[in-house]
Symmetry: C2
Subunit: 264 residues, 2 copies
DNA sequence: AGTTGTGAAAGTCTTCACAGCA
DNA sequence: TGCTGTGAAGACTTTCACAACT
């Protein structure tokens, strides 16, 4: 998926003089020693992957892991992994490796997974419905706190214990339930409007499945998941014949020309 | 989504001396002037986005666009867009802009969308089912040619005109139907096995929704979509208080500590 | 006057390779 | 001896800014 880190406003101006990335430093009210270690965006995404591996190691009762092993399981190179971990201030033990449970806790803390984030899902159509029933969300600390749609046939129905409400209620309900993350799974046409409502309800992080670029004010983070883009990137590689033929004839012979139609 | 370009083997050795990216040059049998212009991976992903915008412009009957306008609609900066387009050899007209229909064709050709790619979807569970019924696939030139699962309750059912077959038939069916792209939407445990079958059936591009790293031989392209990772990255930003509070109280007060459980 | 195409500069991320510690 | 932590080098991207063309 094209994981476009959506709008990344106001950043241009800084002529830079210090490494990039997101400042840690909890911006806590008391201005302690804000040494603020920056964590690169790229690293943040990988931390989530490491966490998955760590969790299963933990379940297996493993006490320690080497950077080599953890890296292999996460599909990255070990130097990168070590650098990533060093950035969040973790410390492994030279000659031994990393303590699995401690590292797990450290990564969770960095990702802000110490407390759950209530999620609002807007658009309970095909994809939205699947996401709502996904289960993975709740299990991983992202309980679905609210569902919205505009279809009268859907409003009022209950999915996995959560009632679908009319999209008009987004502002009120999200604010009331302390929603911190919004998921947009509506058709492209409705996405921006929905997004605006979420933002006005105080939501600062949005996961966008709609095939549109959402514009949001500074301070709001948007991540985009676009299946069509993923497929097209793969298509590109097929066309470049990544690794010549093997089994099966040289793929399907020509057929009528398709055409970008639209999506969702 | 963490858009991990999966395994990217054998590339290390090259001390490099030429710009990066994927060589164009159709590797056609006749060795014509293989000037081979490389297209960076990052550019490929954006081309798909541009294409979406172009398509809707085309539908609106627009004749030309400026890089400025196209870039804005795609959510990127105009210099980047111009550079991207210059890489695929497109030519706009100075002082005027780009010809919408010509550019559309050019981008489609570059992405290999001239002919449809038969897609096989493995795992017709929650998410898989939604994807199968998605519609967006077929409309965009990626007809779902085969569906697979191991659940006896699903095998034999028909979704959107395609019958679900047992996963054991992957090799035979994919080869027979000329499948070029595989989508893995199974639980993590089954993903690698399924992947191996797809590869042995000649599939060279895989979109992986399962929360595991797939290992594939060189020449096979894997892209990964991981919802949990996306959510966790957003969580990170929430924790960093991207843009201080606004409406709604300071989000939900602390609650019991969650825990990475697993996904799918 | 308006807009593309692009060299060069700046930024960001990855990888190497090795010192340093257990 | 084994493995982490990290400076420095390298690879890849983005952005600037302007010449070139209509």
């Amino acid at each position: 998926m094209t994981v476009d880190r959506g709008t990344r406003p106001a950043r241009r101006a800084v002529p830079s003089s210090r490494p990039p990335g997101v400042d840690l430093a909890h911006a806590s009210d008391g201005g302690e020693e804000s040494a603020a270690r920056p964590v690169p965006e790229a690293t943040v995404a990988r931390l989530a992957v490491y966490l998955r591996v760590l969790t299963s190691l933990l379940a297996d009762g493993r006490g320690t892991v080497s950077s080599e092993e953890l890296a292999a399981a996460a599909g990255v190179n070990s130097a990168k992994l070590r650098k990533d971990l060093s950035l969040i201030g973790s410390c492994g033990v030279r000659g031994v490796g990393y303590d699995v449970s401690r590292l797990t806790a450290e990564v969770e803390a960095t990702l802000g997974l110490d407390s759950p984030h209530a999620v609002a899902l807007v658009g309970v159509g095909n994809l939205g419905h699947a996401l709502a029933g996904y289960g993975g969300f709740a299990q991983r600390g992202f309980p679905v706190a609210a569902l919205f749609d505009v279809d009268p046939a859907l409003v009022g129905t209950v999915i996995d214990g959560v009632e679908v409400q009319h999209a008009d209620a987004i502002d009120a309900v999200c604010a009331a339930r302390g929603v911190t993350i919004g998921v947009v799974a509506t058709p492209a046409e409705a996405a921006q409007r929905v997004c605006d409502h979420l933002v006005s309800a105080g939501v600062r992080s949005i996961l966008n499945f709609a095939p549109t670029v959402l514009s949001v004010p500074a301070g709001v983070e948007v991540r985009k998941v676009d299946l069509a883009v993923e497929m097209q990137v793969l298509s590109f590689h097929v066309a470049r014949r990544h690794g010549t033929v093997s089994a099966a004839g040289p793929a399907a012979p020509s057929r009528p020309t398709p055409r970008e139609v639209f999506s969702r």
